[in-house]
Amino acid sequence: MQLWYALWDALPFELLHWDFMKNALLALLLLAPLFGLLSTMIVTGRMSFFSDALGHSAFTGIAIGCICGLAPTAVAVAFSVAFALLFSWVRSRSNQAADTLIGVFSSTAVALGIFIATLGGGSFTKYNKYLIGDVLSVTPAEIGVLAIVLLCVAVFWVLFGNRLVLVSIHPQLASSRGLKVKTTQTIFTVCIAVVVTLAINWVGLLMLNSLLVLPAASARNVSKNLRQYHGFSVLFALLASLIGLSVSYHLGASTGAAISLCLAVIFSVSFVFRKKVS
């Protein structure tokens, strides 16, 4: 970290002379490829709404952790994983449409979270940071956790990426090639649950879904194959993170919101310049 601080001290960027900004930049350089990668498969697998529901369940887990006096993030991770597994189990045994079941789980999680957070007349104010997020408050220790998570997701992508693509685009074909479709889907669901829950501290519940959907949604507009899809998705997430951080610093607005708005602009531009690929 000292090397990272010294590097930016030597450069003529006023906003990066503050340690908290240097931390935020490093965190975003780790979060952007993380969300860029996950985004590709969430969009291809039509799981955008589900990842939003996972964010809600993470909030509920945090509320449970706070009320029980346990580490909120650890409880939230456990709760989100349980939520994801329970959803997968119910979905495989129900004839209801997936978006209906997600609505059931999502609204239940939000209601439970708010109920627990306000139990006994408690104030909701202390939970605001989980709603809006604050990447500027990230600590070097948390950056270390983020680096480990990114490394784990990258390894997971290299080992399971091909299976995930096949299961996402055509489950029946994947099954005929000997892949365990449900197991693959469940492993990916758990992976999203863990990342979403860890990231909620910094990007916030309200911004989480835009970061999980918009990079890949924009990349789809201009990509012909998986290599371009992944490349553009990570590139757009990085671009929006850097511009968003700068804009939020100069205008004094929420960094998460600024990044999301940058992603929205990138999506609009990609939509205008989308290729008629064939």
Partner: protein, 249 residues
């Protein structure tokens, strides 16, 4: 799971035997005592009304359904044989918006290298070789969601042929393909089964192709109602009953 093992019976060629196979889903009996015998190099067409259990039989052969009875694959000279099955699924719809090229699809199925890194030179050569079998080398960089019905069937056929299977199963390969494409696809299947001596089992609702291409036709309506040459089955009373046709139509 299907236990495909040698049990004798086909002395001069490999064959697939389905013996008294019964499939139940929930409380319903979808297939009852189905018996089939398919020799290598034969093209066998499964026909029957909608909901007759054709796709269920194919899924049973693929190991996706529990069943009672025996499914046996045998190879001459081998005491124990395991069948390699190639499968082309029914109405394979891909999202036109998915940025997945034909090369990506092959990479995901055949290569250990992550598809998002792109195909290596050797992988690309293998993909072109596979596509060459179905005369589709020019499709390699196209997005799978933008392929026509006929092009998609050719790509999935090429995929099912790598590694080369003993048995090729196709679920309604002619649906969604225009007349010219149907003839082209059937000519290709005919060429492949002769070149590679593999069994082809396909379901179809298109009876016009049967006389020209099928060695045997099996009429299924939850059980085998009739089987024989295309002429025998299409002229049978069971065929007319199954499809509610009047005499002379």
């Amino acid at each position: 799971m299907i236990n495909l093992f040698h049990s004798g019976g086909c002395h001069d060629s490999c064959c697939l035997k389905v013996q008294n196979v019964t499939v139940r889903i929930g409380g319903d009996r979808i297939l009852k005592d189905v018996n089939l015998h398919v020799h290598c190099g034969q093209l066998v067409a499964l026909i029957g009304p909608n909901g007759a259990g054709k796709s269920t039989l194919l899924k049973t052969l693929l190991g996706e359904r529990e069943f009672d009875g025996n499914i046996i694959f045998s190879v001459p000279g081998a005491r124990r044989a395991k069948a390699r099955i190639g499968y082309v699924p029914q109405t394979p719809n891909f999202d036109p918006g998915d940025p997945v090229s034909v090369a990506d699809l092959f990479n995901c199925c055949l290569s250990r290298r992550p598809a998002f890194l792109g195909a290596s030179k050797s992988d690309r050569e293998l993909i072109l070789e596979c596509l060459d079998r179905v005369h589709g080398e020019d499709l390699i960089d196209k997005r799978v969601g933008t392929l026509s019905g006929g092009e998609l069937q050719r790509v999935l056929l090429a995929l099912a042929l790598e590694p080369m299977p003993n048995i090729l199963i196709l679920d309604e390969p002619l649906s969604g393909v225009d007349i010219e494409g149907q003839t082209g696809l059937m000519d290709m299947l005919d060429e492949i089964r002769r070149d590679y001596d593999l069994s082809i089992l396909m379901t179809t609702h298109d009876f016009s192709m049967l006389s020209r291409y099928a060695d045997r036709v099996v009429l299924i309506d939850h059980e085998v109602k009739c089987q024989g040459t295309p002429e025998e089955v299409l002229g049978s009373a069971e065929f007319r009953t199954a499809f509610r046709m009047k005499e002379g139509t």
